[in-house]
Symmetry: C2
Subunit: 213 residues, 2 copies
DNA sequence: CTATTATTGGACCAATCAGTCCAGAGGGAA
DNA sequence: TTCCCTCTGGACTGATTGGTCCAATAATAG
């Protein structure tokens, strides 16, 4: 449940004792970290290569499409991380309110710990690439649907009817991601904490819906 | 109430009949539009200059700090637009629910109209510049506080106690901004429409709070 | 008018960008 | 060994980056 704990950089790639992850995985991790800090366009390939301790040839060997191909792979891997964590959450015994609060506080802790230097990867990629990078935009659309679907399944597993579950999923995602950016701008957890409390209060119980007119 | 209607590019600068706005204003508007489309780092000064039909010398005359100075000015101007619109909304006679719904649907209409090619300016700037552009980050922190304050005043004007008003302000901002990015990724208004409906339902009446333990 | 300041127009620069290319290291399989 | 293929290492390139500099041109003041 690494993503629920707010850690995007752990992941697999470290199967045995102290072996270094393969180059491809190191490139993806370096890309994620740097883009979370400063966005897609501001991060150069040279910097990614340095952070991953990989030569230039390896980047274009593993990702023939270059930087944008690396972005697509990173989006896909992050999607797997997130949906995996949400699946685990769905089958866990924790209450919905506790889960939503934990999602918010985990992100708040991560932001604070990194000195507000890292932000939401899918969000920044969306706002930087949707109009003019069709490959990345397509990957983001798929990722968005997958994550919303995983959130929806979580709400369904907690007893909501599918249509309500999906709307609550959209809400939870929007509020958490938005609060993350606001917290970053203000360098304060206030927004994220309030978001978690609010979601736990209003989305946690099926009978609090009140929108069947 | 241009910002409530989702139009960020209108603004002043056109006082008399058909006079062209002065260079400084044109630079800011060009910057806003381009950054909303593709982010801060991906937009070059040459492109901004071309869009504003201004020579290079003018940029560094009006903004001695260059691109980052232009960003700070754009953030300040957008902040004024937003807080002005919210002040008007606060003194208007419209219901809170109607206002929140309108904010969401105005953004949805704007996104759709531009082919999902423009996004939230403050959000993308936050996630691109906070760790390594101190001037812009400072402007964003001020802007964030000002906008949250304006939202808070709106809730206070509708009868909420100050502390609840501020928390609802954080919530409304986070949810609307987050939903905007999600809508952009999915190229669908679904998320924004749901966000507006949800906020109108849960933040509109003072007695729906239920959080005084 | 002249003097002064504000603004424009654009040539120019060093640094950096993403991407290309290829020689060769490494490691199984035969 | 030899063959084959994956992967690495890094030199190189043309385009573009943000920024500097200054002469030419309004615009305003006296």
């Amino acid at each position: 449940m690494s993503w629920l704990d707010g850690d995007t950089t752990a992941g697999p790639g470290d199967p045995s004792s102290g072996r270094r992850p393969p180059t491809r995985a190191r490139l993806i991790r370096a890309f994620m970290t740097l883009v979370q800090q400063r966005g897609y366009a501001a991060v150069g390939t040279a910097e990614i290569l340095a952070a991953a301790a990989a030569p230039r040839g390896s980047l274009y060997h593993h990702f023939p499409d270059g930087k944008s191909g690396l972005a697509v792979a990173a989006v896909e891997e992050l999607t797997d991380d997130i949906t995996g964590a949400l699946q685990q959450a769905a089958v866990s015994k924790r209450s919905l309110g506790a889960l939503l609060k934990q999602m918010a506080s985990a992100r708040a802790a991560w932001l604070k710990q990194t000195g507000w230097s890292e932000g939401p990867l899918l969000g920044v990629l969306t706002n930087e690439t949707v109009p003019h990078e069709p490959d990345i935009a397509a990957a983001l659309a798929l990722a968005s649907e997958a994550v919303t679907g995983a959130f929806t399944n979580l709400f369904i597993a907690r007893g909501f009817p599918p249509d309500v579950a999906r709307r609550h999923a959209q809400l939870a995602r929007a509020t958490l991601d938005g609060a993350m950016t606001l917290s970053r701008a203000a360098r304060s957890s206030e927004s994220l904490v309030e978001a978690g409390a609010f979601l736990a209060r209003h989305l946690a119980t099926p009978d609090s819906i009140g929108d069947t007119p």
